[in-house]
């Protein structure tokens, strides 16, 4: 790296906080990232949504300078992740997916350690970490290894924040965490975002998209779409109906054999049916399906047109690679 470049380029307000272009990473014969491009704006809460094996962790490791890409480029805060690594490291906060604090140090010792590595102190940064750290401060003398999952997560977030980073990378902070703790964690992130921090967070839970300003859907190392959650949903190409019947298993089979069915999936207590005809009127389609199920002896089927959700969109994009925009 060239130290002059690294320190002499303050980030313009309109420059992207993260700019990734054509990123490729291979591990042996496995292509972990297959030409990934997107940007994150300053102050944005950006979500990277996708299942395991999608490339989320590899991408975050490249953005935090822990891994070199095979091709393409990645800039964080205007700095090149391949050449300006030391400058980037002092300005990013990173919370890896696996708990990686010192289990034999206490809560307070972990936090002091991370503060001192970055040349600061917990006292100096207390106002920033307080909303999170205060929740675990009663346990400040407990060994980090003996904390509950939710408390470990809050300590890890405190440690990632203690040097007042300009951008935060959180790799699957809510995986394996129950629904209540997940909600609380996202509330914390919303608070940090309101303070102006740029945050990139990955998750396999599609329902968390709504907590983000924009999201990228990622699968098998490729970006399926990048947009606001509403923008992603608006792009769903086919009419979609919610079907509720007492006999879900049989209704799935029946609907799949309907001549115009494009896909049928269970969603909670009901089913989502998408029709292969993109131009059919949803209300007319609902009556058509109701009549069909009725003829098949399904009692009192409830059928109504609905707006697609993020998960519908993810599945639609997975189904048909030709719909991939990038």
């Amino acid at each position: 790296m060239t130290a002059t470049d690294a320190c002499a380029t303050p980030l313009d307000r309109d420059d992207p906080a993260v700019l990734v272009a054509g990123l490729v990473k291979r591990f042996g014969g496995t292509v972990a990232l297959d030409g990934v491009s997107f940007s994150v704006r300053p102050g944005e809460l950006f979500g990277l949504l996708g299942p395991d094996g999608g490339g989320k962790t590899t991408l975050f490791r490249i953005l935090t300078t822990l891994l070199l890409p095979d091709d393409g480029s990645a800039r964080v805060l205007g700095l090149d992740t391949s050449t300006d690594l030391w400058a980037i490291r002092s300005r990013v906060g990173y919370m890896p997916g696996r708990f990686s604090l010192y289990p034999d140090l206490s809560v307070a010792e972990n936090l002091d350690f991370f503060a001192s590595v970055f040349g600061t102190s917990v006292e100096a940064e207390y106002d920033l970490i307080a909303p999170i750290y205060q929740q675990i401060e009663p346990f400040r003398d407990r060994r980090a290894g003996a904390l509950s999952g939710g408390m470990k997560q809050k300590l890890a977030l405190s440690c990632a924040l203690v040097h007042r980073p300009d951008i935060l990378f959180l790799d699957e902070p809510t995986t394996g965490v129950d629904a209540v703790s997940r909600r609380e964690f996202w509330d914390l992130l919303a608070g940090l975002r309101a303070g102006g921090l740029t945050i990139a967070v990955s998750t396999p839970y599609m329902d968390e998209a709504d907590r983000c300003d924009r999201v990228a859907l990622i699968q098998k190392g490729r970006i399926l779409a990048v947009d606001t959650p509403a923008g992603i949903v608006d792009r769903h190409p086919l009419p979609i109906l919610r079907v509720a019947t007492p006999d879900r298993y049989r209704s799935i089979q029946l609907l799949r054999s309907y001549p115009h069915a494009h896909s049928v999936y269970p969603f909670g207590e009901s089913l989502h049916y998408t029709d292969a005809r993109g131009d059919v009127d949803p209300a007319a389609l609902a009556s058509e399906l109701r009549a069909y199920l009725d003829r098949q002896g399904v009692l009192q089927p409830e059928v109504e047109p609905i707006r697609a959700g993020i998960e519908d969109c993810f599945m639609a994009l997975m189904d048909d690679p030709s719909l991939e925009p990038e």
Binding site: P51, P138, S148, A179, P204, R248, Y249, Y265, G268, M315
Partner: protein, 284 residues
């Protein structure tokens, strides 16, 4: 998938079967303490044969401890449980032969191929050589894994591994299958395909007890229990629970019930005990 050779003609309607057969799982005041800590606090419930039963709770609520008792890996401190008609305390090995178990990540040997994993488990469960051969090919075929039967499990995509793990848990045609967060991290289509495998098994009479952090999956279950602080705080069909708690989703019910837990934890830190949730439904 199960026992088709014994059944002549169509199976009776599912509701009828659920009502007629003795419970697959019967739990009465089941309790487990570790020193001063009561991980499972006198829980009682039944799971009917062929039912898909969602076993929910916050991290640390006691689900895993309860499941470990039900599959005979951990002795209860007090109370009783019968699984497939057998007492968990006295007849743990008979129970283990009649149940299947799949946990999120550790059910398969990654250094063995898909075919070897099926054969290994089938052998452990005492299937005959002929049955092992037949069952292995049937399962690989059903999973559309025929051409990947000799691939190391480590090299299979996660979704396939999880479907394979489920099949392996079903290889000895158990009456009851325990699934501990079976769908973590898989893509939404695979997640749904997995649930269709669950439905299919339930249609064939297998009882399913499943834990999950995906609250939409809770709504796929016939009935759901929600554990809070070692107790069953709510139990019913998804529709019943939503009506009882005035919630539009099971996630809302879950948050209403489990939210006080976080406050209790904070209260304990400050030195006060706090009371568990006031909304406790009689179970069963």
């Amino acid at each position: 998938m199960n026992r088709p050779e014994n059944v002549s003609g169509p199976a009776p309607p599912r509701e009828l079967r659920l009502a007629q057969i003795q419970p697959a799982i019967e739990v009465r005041s089941l309790t487990r303490r570790f020193d001063d800590f009561t991980a499972v606090d006198a829980i009682s419930f039944d799971v009917q044969a062929g039912e898909v039963f969602g076993f929910l709770g916050a991290n640390g609520a006691g689900k895993t401890t309860a499941i470990r008792m039900l599959i005979g890996l951990l002795a209860p401190t007090s109370g009783e449980a019968r699984v497939a008609g057998h007492d968990v305390r006295m007849e743990a090995d008979r129970i283990r032969r009649r149940i299947g178990y799949m946990s999120q990540r550790f059910s398969l040997y990654e250094d063995l191929t898909a075919r070897e994993n099926i054969r290994l488990y089938a052998g452990i469960y005492g299937l005959s050589d002929a049955a092992i051969r037949e069952r292995t090919e049937t399962l690989l075929n059903r999973l559309r894994l025929d051409s990947h039967g000799d691939t190391l499990v480590r090299s299979l995509p996660l979704g396939w591994r999880q479907k394979l793990a489920f099949s392996v848990a079903m290889v000895h045609e158990p009456e009851i299958v325990f699934l501990d967060e079976p769908t973590g991290g898989v893509d939404p289509i695979t997640r749904r395909q997995f649930w269709e495998m669950i439905y299919e098994a339930a249609q064939n009479g297998t009882t399913i007890l499943v834990t999950t952090h995906y609250m939409d999956e809770a709504e796929y279950c016939d009935r759901v229990s929600i554990m809070v602080e070692g107790r069953i705080a709510a139990l019913g069909t998804p529709a019943e629970l939503k009506a009882e708690f005035g919630a539009s989703t099971i996630e809302d019910v879950f948050v209403q019930l489990a939210r006080p837990t976080a406050e209790i934890a904070a209260g304990m830190a400050a030195g006060s005990a706090g009371t568990p949730t006031s909304r406790t439904m009689p179970s069963g």
